[in-house]
Amino acid sequence: MTISRRNFLKVAGAAGGVLLAGGAKSARTAQTPQTSSEAVEFNGMLIDTTKCIGCRACEEACNEANKLPKPKVSFSSESVFEGKRETTPDAYVVVNRFPNGKNPDKPVFVRRQCMHCVEPSCASACLCKAMEKMPEGPTVYHKDRCMGCRYCMISCPFDIPKFEFDSASPFVRKCIGCYDRVAKGEQPACAEACPEGATLFGKRRDLIEEARKRMYGNPDRYRQRIYGEHEVGGTGYMYLSAVPFRTIGFRIDLGTKHYPELTSGFLSAVPLVDILWPAVLFGFNYLISDREEERGKESGDEE
């Protein structure tokens, strides 16, 4: 078979079509952080667990600011500290109590909420952009876009997104960093409510400076580590501690890689396969069709 112009154009057209389709997709696969916007600077929070007294004022403020249903146990009750609590669809921030290895009389209180990662895994996992990283820092949730697949829950290294399993029209719920307040220049409700200054809101780089100042200025009081400075590529909400982070409910095996990087290699191979596979397969097909034709001729000659 000679390669006729028509056949060539057919193959070229098919390959080109795939190239276009694949190229358009790949250009956006590596999600660039939207923090490059010069007008707004990335915000975060510094949580100093050595200052927290477990008063749960942050929980109460969060409950009011987000108009969440009132809990069964009042915010002034200490009974909640008996077990370890996770955030729930109705409680975006929870304070837990841990025994203090250094000073048994003074237990450690650690609040738990969305870490607002610099490059959030949930946002890169979401196939309809219901989770979105805002230039101001918070990772927000667009409820109108969500299809309830819960892949964000699978992907979140901190297990923060929670799902309304008992609703016929369920949403994913998590701390959204009080985005409305932050966009207006106010601080999140929990930071405003903290009576001890254990929760400090501000620009992320200023917070890292502040954390260093505290650690270096008081090396006996602090572990020399800011949890969230490098974990999973950096988080917006960061922690200081007097005791090893492992002992107060933090995972220290998460690595320093941005989570979206875990899939970017695979995703960048997608357009390549989309282009190369059809080209190779069309090639195979022509090659084998030719061979079959020749075989047909040969056997025909023999007869």
Binding site: C128, I154, F163, G255, L262, E292
Partner: protein, 441 residues
């Protein structure tokens, strides 16, 4: 649609329902939809009860939320509706792409008799498992968002999976449509479809490659949650490769049943070549499994995880990899040497169990293996899964007993010969007309 061409009389054709007109088509459809044979068979009664119960459970699920019928929790957002129905089901549908590749691209004619049944199986698997996915979505009415919405999450593996899932289901429909055209005796439609067969199959193989790999790629984002023996940056490749032997083993298992149950639909040529086909599939399966195990060993040694094998999860890993992948590989090799079709069939079942174990391990069992309270499916989750499978079997049986899937497709060349002898003008009019009315009457 109206046509100015009157249906041409074709000599030598038996009187068939005129599916060329809308009325005739509907009458034909109504006639075909009627059940045939005995209705109250044990199989029908059991699956019928399962389906009815499943529908009731699904109604509760939509009225009161996922929590009412499933054991899903905040710690385990995905259960067997994803881990078994979707992730495992799609692996078993892999036979369609691998077989169409062999027959249409590599031109291995030997497997031609089983292509239609395999493609049908793949198509129904995709339709029913994507259906099962809708049950699991919290807000299924938003499922179109990544397809036609304005919110494209390009950076998501799930976005890729969703698109390839949708497109490949369409491709499978095109691939099975010659059988539908045969059934309706739409000669012209069949000829148009046949022209795009090669291109469709190439697109299908490409989409499948990425779709199968993408299902594994989903779990790349959970390195801290999946047990290190199962987590690997090679998960996409491992899923792709294992979908091949999952597909092979499913074809073998499916043919065991269809040959027993639908033996009257088989033609002689098919029956005669069947043993050769099964042994060939066993060879294909064995070589792919060898490659898969090689990758598994590389993962194990490079990750320095040999020590983990001596933990409870390690023993479980060995059950999957040694007991249900390595052992079937050895058995396949023995079966090929002994030319034993029975051993091939038994091994296919072992292989399939291995694939089920692997998919369930990654998505459910080795997922958050460290949690104090583990997920196990509720009886209602299992019931609905069985109901989905039962529904698929009903549709499969309906199609098999009506369309030329197992036997040779009807020969329309007689008609085509007639067409070629017609006046040129007639042929031109035939070709120009775009109406589906102008099919054989």
């Amino acid at each position: 649609m109206k046509s100015n061409v009157t249906p041409m009389p074709i000599p030598g054709m038996p009187a068939a329902p005129d599916t060329g007109t809308l009325k005739g088509f509907l009458r034909f459809l109504a006639q075909e939809l009627k059940p045939r044979g005995k209705i109250l068979t044990p199989f029908n009664v059991v699956t019928g009860i399962i389906i009815l119960g499943g529908i009731a459970i699904i109604a509760v699920r939509f009225a009161r939320g996922l929590g009412a019928v499933t054991n899903l929790s905040q710690a385990y957002p995905w259960g067997i509706w994803i881990g078994f129905d979707v992730v495992t089901g799609v692996a078993f549908a892999g036979g369609a792409y691998i077989l169409t590749f062999a027959v249409h691209i590599l031109k291995v004619k030997k497997y031609e008799p089983i292509v239609r049944a395999t493609v049908l199986n793949g198509f129904l698997a995709y339709v029913f498992y994507s259906g099962a996915l809708l049950l699991d979505l919290g807000r299924p009415w938003n499922v179109v968002n990544p397809i036609i919405g304005n919110a494209f999450g390009y950076g998501s593996v799930l976005f890729l999976v969703a698109w390839h899932f949708l497109l490949y289901t369409l491709v499978l429909f095109v691939e099975i449509s010659p059988a539908i055209a045969d059934w309706l005796k739409w000669v012209k439609a069949k000829r148009i479809i046949q022209k795009v067969t090669t291109a469709t199959i190439i697109v299908g193989v490409t989409l499948s490659t990425l779709h199968q790999a993408g299902l594994g790629g989903l779990f790349l984002t959970a390195p801290s949650k999946i047990h290190p023996l199962w987590y690997s940056s090679n998960i996409p490749v491992l899923f792709f490769i294992s979908s091949m032997f999952a597909g092979f083993s499913m074809i073998i298992i499916e043919s065991m049943f269809t040959h027993r149950i639908f033996s009257d639909r088989l033609d002689e040529a098919h029956r005669a070549s069947h043993n050769k086909i099964l042994l060939g599939l066993a060879k294909g399966s064995a070589s792919v499994m060898a490659a898969y195990l090689f990758l598994k060993v590389i993962d194990l040694t490079h990750g320095h995880q040999l020590g983990l094998l001596r933990t409870p999860m390690g023993y479980w890993y060995l059950v999957e990899v040694a007991g249900f992948t390595l052992l079937p590989l050895v058995l396949y090799v023995v079966a090929i040497r002994e030319q034993s079709v029975r051993l091939v069939q038994g091994t296919a079942i072992l292989t399939a169990i291995g694939v089920i174990l692997n998919r369930l391990n990654i998505s459910v069992i080795a997922f958050k293996w460290y949690e104090a309270v583990r997920y196990y499916p509720s009886w209602m989750e299992i019931w609905v899964t069985l109901a989905v499978i039962s529904m698929e079997l009903w549709v499969f049986r309906w199609v098999i007993t009506r369309m030329p899937i197992l036997g040779a497709p009807p020969d329309f060349t007689a008609e085509e010969g007639t067409l070629n002898n017609l006046d040129n003008a007639e042929v031109v009019r035939w070709k120009v007309s775009s109406s589906w009315k102008v099919s054989a009457s």
